[in-house]
């Protein structure tokens, strides 16, 4: 066999170019991606700089048995009902004054306030501690102030549940599917091992709809709007009424305000 060093190097070099370079060159020439496509905001989407909600507890306490906001949320988001407080998954719920404002409890407070129903949900804090601790960025703050959840990324570590001072987050200890009472085909369920909470209905806002609870309240007790817009209804309510927020001393700056 007669092959000298020079021709060996030539053949080796040529093979390397064809073998290693060849594939990437053809890949560059033939682009397999769809080129002219893009994703944009829906045309009728509602936009804000900082979404917020005002809960009118005065009005709400006139209808103590009403649970329309909770039912609307449960059925829209396929929230299960386990009939068991240990496994409970809740996005919006009711509690009394003492448990809503434990730091502002007063023994001589009027009975009306002590017994009034307080509608609770994620506070969509301006400084959300849950977002700071999430190791996978499954929960994150959107530019419009909503503390959103990407259930795809949640690994179920529950750091966010420990960080949230409001108990707004629930863990799926069990497969929620068989316990969903009214199923909405347009919204996914969750799976076992995932944390969930109120998302201010980001999917509905994109379709130009108000959050499900706001839409469902027949008495207008829940008002949703842009906190940064001085002309918005929430700002007007904040101007005209004395409002309180839950645990403001923690510096989380909640976006849910209560008229008491």
């Amino acid at each position: 066999m007669g092959i000298d060093r020079r021709s060996f190097l030539k053949i080796a070099g040529l093979s390397a170019v064809l073998g290693i370079g060849g594939g990437s060159v053809t890949d560059l020439l033939v682009n397999k991606d769809v080129e002219a496509s893009e994703a944009v905001c829906t045309e009728n989407a509602l936009h804000a700089k900082r979404w917020a909600m005002v809960v009118n507890v005065k009005k709400c306490s006139e209808h103590k048995d009403c649970k329309k906001c909770i039912e609307a949320c449960d059925s829209w988001h396929n929230i299960p009902n386990f009939h068991n407080s240990k496994d409970e998954v809740k996005w919006i719920w009711k509690d009394d004054y003492e448990h809503t404002f434990p730091d502002q409890e007063c023994e001589f407070m009027s009975e009306d306030i002590k017994k009034a129903p307080f509608i609770l949900m994620c506070n969509h804090c301006d400084q959300p501690p849950c977002v700071r601790v999430c190791p996978t960025k499954a929960t994150f703050k959107r530019p419009d102030g909503i503390v959103a959840m990407d259930f795809h990324r949640c690994i179920g570590c529950r750091f966010c549940m420990a960080a949230c001072p409001y108990g707004s987050r629930s863990f799926n200890w069990r497969d929620p599917r068989p316990f969903i009472e009214k199923v909405n085909n347009n919204f996914p369920t969750r799976m076992r091992g995932v944390v969930e909470k109120c998302t201010f209905c980001v999917d509905r806002l994109a379709d130009g709809l108000q959050p499900a609870c706001v839409e469902a309240c027949p008495y207008g007790c829940l008002v949703f709007g842009d906190l940064e817009d001085p002309e918005s209804e929430v700002r007007k309510l904040l101007q005209e009424n004395v409002t309180i927020r839950r645990k403001p001393e923690l510096g989380t700056m909640p976006s849910i305000f209560y008229i008491v």
Binding site: K32, D33, V34, E35, A36, S37, E38, A39, V40, C41, T42, E43, A45, S75, W76, F140, R142, D144, A148, D150, F151, H152, R177, P178, F179, I180, E181, K182, V183, N184, N185, N186, F187, P188, T189, R190, M191, V194, V202, D203, A206
Partner: protein
């Protein structure tokens, strides 16, 4: 050549052993699945070839567009506007996941975890306790 008998015999045995699975399974290959589409739209989100090869890529992008960036409207290659959403868009035509998604995924032996949370109206019957109202 030294020991040619042993070498050739060894090669024959090797070739025989190596091709046994191919010979044994000859003609038993599963036929490519025939998919059923309950079609409401005339065309899919992108062209058929792209959807067949890259729908998983598109769905990943859709997930991030919709959830992370809040961009829930997809403008396709032809300029058509499509609502982003597995359940609100894809499953409206591919409504029977067992007859569409699952057939190919089983054939290709892939197990996507989409269905841990997302569901088709058909697939829902397996676990839903009551009929939905939306």
């Amino acid at each position: 050549m030294y020991d040619s008998g042993k070498i050739i015999a060894g090669l024959v045995i090797f070739a025989g052993l190596f091709t046994v699975p191919f010979i044994m399974n000859r003609g038993t290959a599963a036929p490519p699945p025939k998919l059923k589409i309950v079609s409401k739209a005339k065309a899919c989100v992108e062209d058929t070839h792209y959807m067949r090869t890259s729908h998983m890529k598109l769905l990943n992008e859709w997930r991030d567009d919709a959830l992370r960036d809040g961009h829930r409207l997809y403008i396709n290659n032809k300029g058509k506007k499509i609502h982003i959403g597995l359940q609100i868009t894809c499953l409206k035509c591919h409504s029977d996941k067992a007859d569409f998604c699952d057939k190919c995924h089983a054939y290709a032996d892939v197990r996507p975890y989409c269905w841990d949370c997302h569901f088709s109206p058909e697939g829902r019957k397996k676990w839903a306790s009551t009929e939905g109202h939306f």
